[in-house]
């Protein structure tokens, strides 16, 4: 049974190895799976009953990471700078917020005349090459060796670039907290960005992410990426289902297997701020990374042009 690998195998293998990593501090928690691969989750969404035990568990174990903003907020200039304040709405559960890193998306999908309800736990996808991390101008978003992407609340200035470049616009901002308060709060920065950090601190201690542990239906499994992808394909074959997350944005570490097509889920779901669609997403980092070869060739071209000039000059002088 595919779900059996979820807890036991993870605890014995990946997390046991991860146990040797110091438990505190972001960099210390750079645990990886025993194979050296990124850690990946597989979600069998046909099993999710929308009980929200995972949402509760996430809120409980991560509560001490939530923002505690100082009020009143410093006045920010220019006036167009938006204040993002979720501190009075901490109980919102039907979308992503700085205080809710996981929500259950629900869709009533009709397939071949049959109505099917699907529930999909939604949070950060933990991309293999995460643009939120790679394009963060300050190095406050980072990717651990395990592939987990984390935003450091002590360094983040809340400029929201990570959200802009994320294909799913996952990170959510809270104003009035973080480093910007100590620099130029009126002129630069706007708080801190928050999102699922895959319970990196629990993983470093050999525990499962809270949402996986709490789920009564064993919706999620976690393990090395190759293994999870093989299982996702086997499961998709078994249920004649569909896969999302394997190739999106160049590959993610969140693989959904659904009994109904994702296009149908998209059509039947409500999307908006904090509720990202399960849309197609091309590899965000690819276009720039693809021209890096030219950076290697450029110096050769420079030398060749200069040599050409020398050649012409000597011809002229001859």
């Amino acid at each position: 049974m595919p779900e059996m690998i979820s807890r036991r195998a993870f605890l014995k293998g990946s997390a046991a190895a991860a146990c040797t990593v110091a438990a505190s501090g972001l960099t210390a928690a750079a645990s990886t799976s025993p194979s050296g691969q990124q850690l990946c989750t597989l979600l069998d969404i046909s099993k999710c009953v929308a009980c929200e035990a995972c949402v509760d568990a996430c809120q409980e174990v991560n509560a001490d990471k939530y923002p505690q903003p100082q009020k009143p907020f410093p006045k920010m200039y220019p006036s167009r700078v938006p204040v993002a304040d979720w501190s009075e709405k901490q109980d919102v559960r039907d979308r992503l917020t700085p205080y809710n890193w996981l929500y259950i998306q629900t869709a009533d999908v009709e397939v071949d005349g049959e109505a099917i309800e699907v529930n999909i736990p939604r949070r950060c996808m933990h991309c293999v090459n995460p643009p939120c991390v790679k394009l963060c101008p300050w190095g406050s978003a980072r990717q651990l060796k395990s592939g987990i992407s984390v935003i450091d609340p002590d360094i983040c200035l809340g400029g929201s670039k990570c959200k802009a470049v994320c294909p799913w616009h996952i990170p959510e901002r809270q104003t009035g907290v973080g480093l910007y308060l100590d620099i130029l709060p009126s002129l630069a920065g706007n708080g801190v960005m928050y999102k699922c950090d895959r319970c990196y601190n629990r993983i470093a201690e050999g525990e499962l992410p809270a949402c996986i542990e709490a789920c009564p239906e064993d919706v999620q499994q976690i393990g090395p990426r190759d293994e999870m992808i093989a299982k996702a394909h086997a499961l998709a074959k078994e249920i004649d289902g569909y896969i999302y997350g394997e190739t999106e944005n160049g590959g993610t570490n969140t693989i959904y297997v659904s009994p109904v097509p994702f296009e149908a889920i998209n059509k039947a779901s409500e999307y908006g701020k904090g509720r990202p669609p399960l849309k197609q997403a091309a590899d965000s980092m690819a276009s720039a990374n693809n021209i890096v070869a030219a950076m290697a060739i450029a110096p050769i071209a420079g030398v060749a042009f200069a040599a050409g000039k020398l050649f012409k000059q000597t011809q002229k002088n001859a």
């Binding site: 972001l26 960099t27 750079a30 220019p78 167009r80 700078v81 293999v128 090459n129 790679k134 394009l135 101008p137 300050w138 190095g139 980072r142 990717q143 651990l144 060796k145 450091d152 360094i155 400029g159 929201s160 670039k161 802009a164 470049v165 630069a188 160049g250 590959g251 965000s284 980092m285 276009s287 720039a288 990374n289 021209i291 890096v292 030219a294 950076m295 450029a298 110096p299 050769i300 071209a301 420079g302 030398v303 042009f305 200069a306 040599a307 000039k309 020398l310 000059q313 000597t314 002088n317």
Partner: protein
């Protein structure tokens, strides 16, 4: 290698290409920070691209490619044609060192942007700060050089 007898004359075309490249590198580089939208600059017609992170990122890479070609061109040309006739001024050494630092820190950041490259976080912050400090130095010194007409080389 024998050096040619004549001095290679500064080519205005290439000088403008250098300035043009540096201008777009600096602009797209600052565009990596979320400031152009906040401060209405991206609202100016024709400058909307400054708030589009993937576009500024791509332009920065294109600029880096041209800069690398230009730098190796200038270095090779200097060693082939001019080394016996002209020497680097303080300005020349300073600019060269700063651009070298920008290229090294930039290339390390480019490598980081590939999948499965995990630098220690302190290194990323160091490289980011290095890159931005060096460009400020280059721009500041460039302005001073422009006003006081400083040249990179002088006759020996």
């Amino acid at each position: 290698m024998t050096t040619a007898a004549t001095i290679s004359k500064p080519d205005p075309g290439r000088r403008y290409l250098y300035l043009f490249t540096m201008f777009f590198l600096a602009l797209s580089g600052f565009g990596q920070m979320p400031i152009f939208k906040r401060y209405y600059i991206a609202d100016i017609p024709g400058l909307g691209w400054l708030a589009k992170f993937y576009i500024t990122h791509y332009i920065h890479y294109l600029g880096a490619i041209i800069l690398l070609a230009l730098c190796t061109y200038y270095i090779t040309e200097y060693f082939m044609f001019n080394i016996k006739k002209r020497k680097l001024t303080f300005s020349g050494y300073f600019n060269t060192a700063v651009i070298f630092g920008l290229i090294i820190s930039g290339l390390l950041l480019v490598i980081k942007n590939f999948a499965n490259y995990h630098y220690p976080n302190s290194l990323i912050i160091f490289l980011d700060l290095c890159h931005i400090s060096l460009v400020m130095l280059l721009l500041g010194y460039g302005l001073y050089s422009l006003i006081s007409k400083k040249r990179w080389t002088t006759p020996r």
